[in-house]
Symmetry: C2
Subunit: 185 residues, 2 copies
DNA sequence: GTAATATGTCACATATTTGAGACATATTTC
DNA sequence: GAAATATGTCTCAAATATGTGACATATTAC
């Protein structure tokens, strides 16, 4: 049975992803608890948002590290990271939304992304593929990074909306990302 | 000189794109007018949002139709539609956000998309390319449709954030979209 | 079954946002 | 330059959102 705190965070992530100013009443309702209870767990809106950020980052980073370590080859590493992110669903989409308006070099400064070095691992994988001329040299790494996130988000939304079955969304995402960066396998 | 009404709508689109509940004070500030003035032009928040929806749809649809009519070939049509959407910038991104949570078949029912038949034109172009076996047959049209929107949005955000120069974002978007759907030219 | 803990309902004070009247000031029109 | 129009500032009432105490009720632990 999921804890009340976890239920609230899950609901908050879902609500705040699309509307950062959604009412706490709405979040509580989405969580299936009363607003009074929500306030018992979180001091205020800011506390709730920070908690969501922290937990979602930890969760996504963890999944991505596992995916990274799941195979020695760079291509499978990237593929598994893509799948791991899609599996995170709303979590990943929430994190993406938070950071959407930051540019690539700003992100490099943020501690959140250095904590587990997910981004630098990902960065090095792409660099490796570029060096080996296995992907399109015209595309910059910032572009590829943003595209990676967008395709994941597309897969998450396609599944959530009912347009695409879960397995299909994973496969389509991989096919599309590969093609988009001109990856030669 | 841009009219006050237009300034407010532009500002609202920018604000509401990322936060549908942003305060009207914020929108007014973004527009460079007082909130009192904003209230003179728009009855209430709902009126403002509806106006934004209508105007952005008209603007985007118009640009897309022009792009569609700019060349007889299906591939250049699609390319130009992609570029036209990127050129719309915040307008397109706003429209995309509004409809993000609708699935493909729901969108087919909405009059907004039937008004100028942009979507059906786009749909038929992709269908044509599928039939001619010029794109990857594994990918479904709903997936391709959503991906098209995501890549456009990626280009818009990449440019806005400063990661990618304007011309580069256009070119990267086209290269990536082509590759993603396996388009053979 | 009892005690401890968790949650919901209710009420309320406070904070924030909204909508609009009144009037001053700025800008545009002729 | 005068008149008309547009906008800003200020104020205030109403609406909405937030945070929390009190107490009842439900659930869990022993």
């Amino acid at each position: 049975m999921e804890s009340t705190r976890a239920k609230i965070i899950t609901a908050a992530v879902r609500c705040f992803r699309d509307n950062p100013s959604d009412t706490l009443e709405k979040v509580a309702e989405e969580a299936g608890v009363s607003r009074r209870t929500l306030h018992r767990y979180f001091e205020n809106r800011e506390d709730l948002i920070e908690s969501c950020k922290n937990e979602m980052l930890v969760s996504c980073n963890k999944a991505m590290i596992l995916a990274y370590e799941s195979d020695p080859g760079p291509i499978i590493k990237i593929r598994n990271m893509l799948f791991a992110a899609i599996e995170q669903g709303a979590n990943y989409a929430f994190v993406k939304r938070i950071y959407e308006r930051s540019n690539f070099s700003d992100l490099e400064m943020k501690k959140e992304f250095e904590s587990d070095d997910v981004k630098s691992k990902w960065f090095n994988l792409i660099k490796e593929l570029q060096k080996a001329e296995r992907i399109n040299p015209e595309l910059t790494i910032p572009w590829i990074f943003n595209l990676f996130g967008s395709i994941i988000e597309t897969a998450i939304y396609a599944f959530e909306s009912g347009d695409v079955a879960k397995n299909d969304s994973r496969n389509f995402a991989w096919i599309s990302f590969k093609g988009a960066i001109g990856l030669k396998e």
